[in-house]
């Protein structure tokens, strides 16, 4: 009996080792494009010409500095923040407000208002992106930080409202009743009682929205035609247009584009995953 159990254990162990071996091999395959990017970005320019995709055959920061200065990726980097941070703040603040109202405050017109949010959740950006271009042009918002921030925010608002509404709905009803008995105003109940209890939701929504807006390609492609506030995504695409020659700086530019994403992802994996899991609902 004992012998048999021991034998089973070694078999199980062998199997587990095999699994880990397979998993490590697969994860290397999955991560390989990232390894390739880092390797090519950190080569010396002459090595890039000879052997652009050989892994880690030389080392230099030159491609990075070239991309940052000559390739304007420094500007793009700044622009990405200018387009991502305000739009993310806007989504998080307005969604938290809206989510709270839909979850806990009966108000006239709530049914219709909620219907509008549902429509926003169901209709893909594709459907209205072309008319929106001419609308923005008419409003003088094309090529402007304000316009693109507002568009980016509006594409994330419906989802954000849903997301935050779920968090507020989960809070017990006794909470606001008790606060009301204590003489708290509706504002105070929202800001002092409820808001502190949904910080995890706000965190996940912030990270998720930041990544989505940072990665957004179509919105800046369409609505920043002149390129004054061009972010990393469309900047990288533009740089790719002059393809073939400058693989080194292109790799460096790619690295600059994805580095904040990777850092955020590794540092806040839980929030990112939570955000994307519920983001799935959006489709």
């Amino acid at each position: 009996m004992k012998y048999q159990k021991a034998r089973l254990d070694t078999r199980g162990k062998l199997r587990l080792t095999g699994k880990h071996f397979l998993l490590i091999a697969l994860s290397i395959v999955m991560v390989f494009p990232l390894i390739l990017t880092i390797s090519t970005a950190l080569k010396t320019p002459s090595d890039v010409k000879l052997n652009p995709f050989g892994l880690f055959s030389s080392f230099s920061w030159e491609n990075i500095t070239t991309a940052w200065t000559v390739g304007s990726f420094g500007n793009y980097f700044l622009n990405s923040f200018l387009l991502t941070v305000p739009s993310t703040l806007l989504v998080v603040v307005l969604s938290t407000m809206g989510g709270y109202a839909f979850a806990r405050l009966p108000f006239p017109g709530r049914g219709i208002a909620f219907y509008v949010v549902v429509v926003g959740l169901l209709v893909p950006f594709f459907t209205y992106m072309i008319p929106l271009y001419f609308q923005l042009r008419g409003m003088g918002l094309l090529d402007s930080l304000l316009g693109v921030n507002l568009v980016l925010a509006s594409t994330g608002l419906s989802f954000g409202t849903f997301f935050m509404r779920a968090f507020f709905s989960d809070l017990p009803a006794e909470l606001d009743q008790a606060a009301r008995v204590d003489g708290a105003s509706e504002w105070q109940i929202f800001l002092r009682v409820m808001l502190p209890l949904v910080t995890s939701g706000i965190g996940a929504l912030s990270v998720f929205t930041f990544l989505t807006n940072w990665n957004n390609f179509l919105v800046p492609l369409l609505y920043i035609p002149s390129g004054e506030y061009r972010p990393l995504t469309t900047g990288l695409y533009l740089f790719l247009g002059g393809r073939s020659i400058d693989i080194g700086p292109l790799a460096a530019g790619t690295l600059i584009t994805i580095l904040p994403v990777i850092v955020l992802f590794v540092a806040m994996q839980k929030q990112v995953t939570q955000g994307f899991l519920s983001g799935a609902v959006k489709g």
Binding site: I28, M30, P131, F190, L232, T233, T254
Partner: protein
């Protein structure tokens, strides 16, 4: 969309219940209700204004654009009725793009489902290092598509790319080619990249669903002498089916409106070999200035997707109801 989405607004918790509990404070309850209504309207107003201006209004405009012939300049474009639709139905490029879309949807949905499920099952059964595996398998999905396109372009590069090198290394040198430049392979090459990212998405969702698989049921099945394949088919899959269908819906619907990755990697070329409805709509509107035609195409993409969304949603709801009943 679909899925867990809203169904009905959650009933407001406070208000009436409170009034019942404390009949003496009925007067202040009315005050409370008024204050709540005021705050509620105040809180949703900015959200409503933004959504109305940047979503509802352009949507209404889209509905107008499809019946006129707008070239981007003319302030009062001529009304042409259904001409955009009839032209679209007779445009061979539309049908070619549609065919590519169908291939994209079929391959781009099934392959990530299989790969993502396999990854999730593998990671689910190990404990040590699962944080690293989760990170490695999920990270392709969080990257910007442009960056993904650039790097995969190098992997597919004809002379020095890793794919051709790997093929030569294993003795399949005769298969090497310029994957993105060859009209026969371009679409599948881009699809390969898309599968890489979509599998990551399927992986993370299925893995989270696997966490909820009933451990007692698994143990019982193990005691009954089932092998791991039987447990997968009869115990695991039925339990994760609703989530699996949700992922299927999302991936499938994403296949209708695919744009970024194709636009970056091939721009629809060579010679339209990778054009899908999305890239064709874009080039019609913004390169050929056929604004109305492009809008009509974009609208068609949405309309085509609706029946699938409804169907999958129904199926999924029925399944999760069954799950609850069982």
């Amino acid at each position: 969309m679909t899925t867990a989405a809203p169904q009905t607004p959650v009933p407001p918790a406070p208000g009436p219940a409170r009034g019942q509990g404390r009949p003496t404070q009925a007067g202040s309850s009315a005050v409370t209700r008024k204050a709540q209504a005021r705050l509620g309207m105040l809180l949703v107003t900015p959200l409503m204004v933004l959504t109305a201006v940047f979503l509802v209004f352009p949507m209404a405009n889209a509905a107008y654009y499809v019946f006129v012939d707008f070239n981007g300049i003319d302030p009062s474009p001529p009304w042409i009725g259904l001409s955009n639709f009839t032209e679209l139905a007779q445009d061979p490029d539309v049908w070619a793009a549609f065919k590519n879309n169908v291939i994209w949807i079929v391959v781009g949905t099934t392959a990530p489902l299989v790969v993502g499920l396999a990854f999730a099952l593998l990671v689910w059964t190990v404990h040590r290092g699962s944080r690293w595996y989760r990170l490695a398998f999920f990270f392709p999905y969080v990257l910007p598509q442009v960056a993904v396109g650039v790097v995969w372009g190098w992997i597919y590069e004809p002379s020095r790319g890793w794919l051709n090198r790997a093929l030569e290394f294993v003795g399949l040198g005769s298969f090497t080619r310029g994957w993105l430049g060859d009209p026969d392979t371009a679409l599948y090459a881009v699809l390969g990249t898309a599968v890489w990212t979509a599998a990551a998405f399927v992986f993370i969702i299925v893995l989270s669903a696997l966490r909820n698989v009933d451990a007692d049921l698994m143990d019982a099945a193990r005691l009954d002498g089932t092998n791991s394949f039987q447990r997968l088919v009869y115990v695991i899959i039925p339990q994760i089916m609703p989530v699996f269908l949700m992922v299927t819906t999302i991936t499938l619907l994403g296949g209708f409106s695919v744009f970024d990755i194709i636009f970056v990697m091939t721009g629809g070329g060579p010679a339209g070999a990778t054009d899908v409805l999305g890239t064709y709509a874009y080039s019609s509107a913004f390169q050929l200035n056929r604004i109305s035609y492009g809008t009509t195409l974009a609208l068609i993409i949405t309309v085509l997707a609706i029946p699938f969304a409804v169907m999958m949603n129904r199926l999924q709801r029925r399944l999760s109801l069954q799950g609850m009943g069982a």
